[in-house]
Symmetry: C2
Subunit: 106 residues, 2 copies
């Protein structure tokens, strides 16, 4: 077993007001985001399947022109290569799970 | 994109005082546990790699006779086939990520 303290991982800010810490296991990556209200994860896609869990606040997720609000208690499953865009409505926290792991963030 | 409301998923109680809801994507499974203080996930193992994120409360995790306390902000990575045992110290909430998906909970 490996125990990781999130505070010991490197905090990145790949987009303005979007802070993230990554943890990689043998097969998956987890991204722990803290996004300020109005922070935007620009339209992008990746081969990695993504499962997004909002743990605090409200987030809008847009895929193929369809926008949905995501709140705690909701989980979004984004297939491989599907373009998506996210905007924080309030300060929010989000955990993303990726398979395969995000080699671009290792 | 598929949006899932956790409240719409089936709640299971595979062990006393250990309630769980599963979400399965194409590649991974996520388990959202609510465990009452003193609830126990008995010693077990599975081929699935497991990443455990405690979101509320305190949990003890024991692997190979070594017990560690896990709190929010900590993440445990449990390799495939490694036997593990968990006990809730307080009421706690835990999100487990499994790869490959947990066919036994589909």
């Amino acid at each position: 077993m490996k125990l990781v303290e999130l505070k010991d991982t490197k905090e990145l800010e790949p987009f303005k007001d979007c802070h993230v810490r990554f943890i990689h296991s043998e097969n998956v990556s987890l991204a722990f985001w803290k996004i300020k209200a109005n922070g935007v994860l620009p339209d992008h896609s990746h081969i990695n399947e993504q499962v997004s869990v909002v743990t605090k606040g409200e987030l809008e997720l847009t895929i193929n022109g369809v926008t949905k609000k995501i709140l705690p208690g909701m989980v979004a499953i984004i297939p491989s290569n599907e373009r998506h865009y996210a905007k924080a409505i309030t300060d929010c926290e989000l955990t993303d799970v990726f398979y395969p792991m995000r080699e671009d963030y290792k």
